[in-house]
């Protein structure tokens, strides 16, 4: 018997590990299940509908772009569009109206990703870019947070999704409020005292479990950490970006709050409020928009932490995770350039390393 191989002619290697883009995306989605599930439990049907709408419209936008660009439709299956829609959903107020969800997803996919050339080419994280575009365009719905456990029924939920929010709930006054970050910022502007504000509002237990105002991704610190731990365990992400980001933020908060506790928020408040944890594990670690080298990732994380602290403390917006990460996204190519690994046999500048030449023998 004569053996001939199938006609595939490719260069080495002829073995491959079990990784794949779809597996990576699937794992990230899995890591998002706890926070999303808890968010839907907290904020009820409108959150579920909004989440689904985000994913469906992200997929639809991706399909539209693939069709326009005449790329294979099979790319839909790589899971990146689903993930973008999902990530956007967990950053939005849970009771956002339909046009925020649809417009945001379309913006994320079309302008945030496909205009740059599709998967792998975008400079900014699409979901965060869309979130910021939405925040700038529609400040009111984007800062209207639902209160947990209102449990509207399906009819009410659809009304909420259509944007007719306040009339349906018996206690409309209680419906909206600001998150801790917004609240504390307002209090500080009014000349308040940080320690006083914290003692009356902030509660570590609530922050960990998540019974508070906020988007689905930012309420429960514990579940966000759980998702992050899963990503680390699956080696989807490495520790470099989350640790350097959280570490920088913690150190800055520690230094400032110990020196002036009545003006600056303490470490716990910074780490547990807002989207810091979800941002550090899910958004800052986005492959496409973060540096590829370990050193670069540390620099990137530290930059994010510094910016988040700066904007939160002295900036105009109460929350800064998205701004900080987007700003550092724009520096990623530069960071990648300066943190190139040292090549074997060369020094950092790329010159051949010096060596003592082995002496030639006389004979």
């Amino acid at each position: 018997m004569n053996t001939t191989a199938a006609a595939a002619v490719t260069a080495s290697p002829h073995a491959h590990d079990r990784s794949g883009v779809d597996r990576i995306m699937l794992n990230v989605c899995l890591a998002l299940v706890p926070v999303t599930g808890f968010g839907i439990y907290l904020f009820g049907l409108p959150a579920l509908l909004m989440w689904m709408l985000c994913i469906v419209s992200a997929l639809a936008s991706e399909a539209l772009c693939l069709w326009l660009l005449q790329h294979p439709m099979s790319r839909l299956l790589d899971g990146s569009a689903v993930l973008t829609g999902w990530l956007l959903a967990i950053t939005l107020p849970p009771w956002s109206p339909w046009w925020v969800a649809v417009g945001g997803s379309a913006f994320a996919i079309i302008i945030g990703k496909q205009i740059y050339g599709g998967i792998g080419q975008n400079l900014f994280n699409p979901a965060l870019l869309a979130r910021i575009a939405l925040l700038i365009s529609f400040p009111v719905p984007l800062t209207t947070w639902a209160i947990p456990y209102l449990n509207p029924d399906l009819g009410q939920s659809i009304q909420i999704l259509l944007g007719n929010m306040p009339t349906l709930i018996p206690t409309p006054d209680a419906l909206t409020g600001a998150t801790w970050l917004g609240d504390s910022k307002a209090a500080m502007k009014a000349g308040g005292d940080m320690t006083e504000y914290l003692s009356s509002h902030f509660n570590v237990m609530d922050a960990m479990i998540g019974e508070r105002l906020g988007s689905m991704g930012e309420t429960s610190a514990l579940l966000a950490l759980l998702g992050g731990a899963w990503l680390l365990k699956q080696r989807i992400i490495s520790w470099h970006i989350p640790v350097s980001l959280l570490g920088t933020l913690a150190v800055l908060a520690l230094v400032t709050s110990t020196s002036e506790p009545e003006r600056y928020a303490p470490v716990g408040f910074h780490l547990l409020s807002g989207g810091v944890l979800i941002g550090a594990f899910f958004f800052a670690t986005d492959y496409v928009t973060s540096p590829t080298t370990k050193l670069g990732q540390v620099i990137f994380g530290m930059g994010c932490g510094l910016l988040i602290f700066t904007i939160r403390t002295w900036g105009g917006f109460p929350e800064a995770v998205a701004f900080g990460i987007l700003f550092m996204n724009s520096l990623t190519p530069l960071i990648d350039r300066v943190t190139k690994p040292r090549v074997y046999g060369r020094n950092r500048q790329g010159d051949v390393i010096k060596h003592v030449p082995a002496q030639r023998r006389v004979n």
């Binding site: 018997m1 004569n2 053996t3 001939t4 191989a5 199938a6 595939a8 002619v9 490719t10 260069a11 080495s12 290697p13 002829h14 073995a15 491959h16 590990d17 079990r18 990784s19 794949g20 883009v21 597996r23 990576i24 790319r75 790589d78 990146s80 599709g118 998967i119 792998g120 080419q121 492959y287 496409v288 540096p291 590829t292 080298t293 370990k294 190139k340 690994p341 040292r342 090549v343 074997y344 046999g345 060369r346 051949v352 390393i353 010096k354 060596h355 003592v356 030449p357 082995a358 002496q359 030639r360 023998r361 004979n363």
Partner: protein, 492 residues
């Protein structure tokens, strides 16, 4: 030179080594009906045939001699008749033909006269290197660089460390492993001989720590000799690459663009060292080698000692045959091995393994766009940026690819192994390297034609001038009297 003994990057591919490690080396492969000996089984120019069609040759008789740059001798693996000197399909992914000697065995296995050397240490160093050259030995780990040239280079430099490379890091392959287990004494003897030739200060046999039996066998064989160290190096692909092994053993890096003997290190594969020992002690030329026959399609994977020139199919059959249609046939390991166009190609000196892999083992996917995950950067043992090298190569920006590290790339395939987008990174690099070589060849050719054209122009002008001068001289001779007249008129 940095002092770190741990090289960066690397991967841990699934080993599959147990499949072929259990059985001992199969030495009694029946003679195939025909042996094909390609004239080029080494890095350089074709060897020159010394025989003619119809000649009867004896086992071990030289049938082709080294000719030109980096060439090597070729010997008859068995006694028989030369049937043809013609082209065959080469064991090369291109499937292109090349010339080979076709030898039909007569089944008598009649040896040519060998000259054993009971005490090779009494022979001068240079003559020993000459004997290695005569035996046609090339690097058998896959580099196929003529061993004698390496030994002579080693003599010109002060070799501080001589490393015997027993860190077979490719999955599936257990050739060196089994050779070390079963022929430890010979390998240690060979190492001693090479050390003697190059007069190295330190001799290290480096074995990956996932081969405990080989380590034990070599340690036992080296015991009492003293000057030979046996070192266990961590098992990580590509530990078998000379540059990485040198760093793991000595802590020094080979400067970019230099050879290992520039920093006083020489590396030889264990199989090469074994072949050198056979040649120096028994006078045996390189006519057979141990190779791993494995892969999911092989019924009984194991190591075989086979004659050079044996068709691959014959070796498959002697390992129980092929159970299912292989998705890919390989020569060498799966990480750096080359695709074989068919199983009719012959075994050559550099074949460390013959694999018939199933579709599942190859695990090939349609490439997807790069998502910049950076896994290739972390896997690269050379510290390069494979993703940049691939994207620049794709745009035919070869200068950019060189800058991103193509010039330092060792094509180990670690990057492509881990790429979640299944981008054929190594093929991009091979393509870019090939194109760069084409450009250089083209440029050289143009420079040459330019020189030739200029030379011709100069020659023709010189000829013309010479002719004109001759004519002038003739004229002068013919009319010497007439000439002054007009001039005198002019002056008047």
């Amino acid at each position: 030179m940095l002092g770190s003994k741990r090289y960066r990057g690397g991967v841990h591919p699934v080993g599959h080594k147990a499949d072929s490690r259990d059985d001992s080396i199969l030495t009694d492969v029946p003679l195939p009906p025909m042996l094909y000996l390609p004239l080029c089984q080494h890095t350089g120019d074709d060897a020159l045939p010394l025989v003619q069609i119809g000649d009867r040759v004896l086992k071990g008789q030289k049938v082709a001699k080294a000719n030109g740059r980096l060439s090597a001798n070729l010997h008859a693996p068995t006694s028989g008749i030369i049937k043809a000197i013609d082209t065959i399909t080469m064991p090369h992914p291109s499937g292109l033909p090349a010339r080979a000697i076709w030898l039909e065995p007569d089944g008598q296995e009649q040896w040519t006269e060998l000259t054993p050397h009971p005490d090779p240490y009494s022979i001068p160093h240079e003559a020993l290197a000459g004997m290695v050259e005569d035996a046609g030995i090339v690097g058998m780990g896959g580099a196929i660089f003529p061993a004698a040239i390496k030994l002579r280079q080693g003599r010109r430099f002060e070799i501080k460390t001589f490393i015997v490379n027993g860190s077979e890091c490719e999955p599936y392959l257990t050739t060196d492993d089994k050779l070390m287990c079963e022929r430890a004494k010979e390998i240690v003897e060979g190492a001693k001989l090479v050390r003697h030739i190059i007069e190295a200060y330190r001799t290290v046999i480096a074995i990956e720590d996932n081969k405990p039996e080989a380590l034990a066998a070599i340690r036992q064989a080296a015991e009492g000799i003293g000057s030979i160290e046996v070192v266990a190096v961590p098992a990580r692909y590509p530990m078998g690459s000379a540059k990485q092994l040198i760093q793991a053993v000595t802590g020094h890096e080979v400067p970019a663009g230099s050879r290992s003997n520039d920093i006083g290190v020489l590396v030889h594969n264990v199989a090469t060292v074994y072949a050198i020992q056979q040649a120096l002690i028994y006078g045996k030329p390189l006519i057979s080698r141990v190779t791993t026959v494995a892969g999911g399609c092989i019924a009984a994977p194991r190591n075989v000692e086979a004659l050079i020139g044996t068709p691959v199919q014959h070796l498959f059959d002697s390992c129980g045959g092929v159970t299912s249609a292989p998705s890919r046939l390989l020569m060498g390991g799966p990480m750096m091995g080359q695709v074989l166009p068919t199983a009719d190609v012959p075994l050559i000196k550099g074949s460390s393994g013959l694999l018939a892999l199933t579709r599942k083992e190859v695990n090939e996917h349609v490439p997807a766009p790069c998502i910049r995950c950076g896994r290739c950067v972390n896997a690269c043992p050379m510290g390069l940026l494979p993703l940049e090298m691939a994207s620049t190569s794709r745009k035919d920006d070869f200068e950019g690819a060189q800058d991103a590290g193509l010039r330092d790339c060792i094509l180990c395939g670690s990057c492509a192994y881990v790429c979640p987008s299944h981008i054929p990174l190594v093929q991009y690099f091979e393509y870019a390297k090939g194109e760069i070589r084409d450009r250089r060849v083209g440029e050289q050719k143009m420079l040459r034609t330019k020189e030739l054209a200029d030379a011709r122009k100069a020659r023709i002008e010189a000829e013309k001038a010479a002719k004109a001068a001759a004519k002038k001289a003739k004229k002068k001779k013919a009319k010497p009297a007439k000439k002054p007249e007009p001039s005198s008129e002019e002056t008047a």
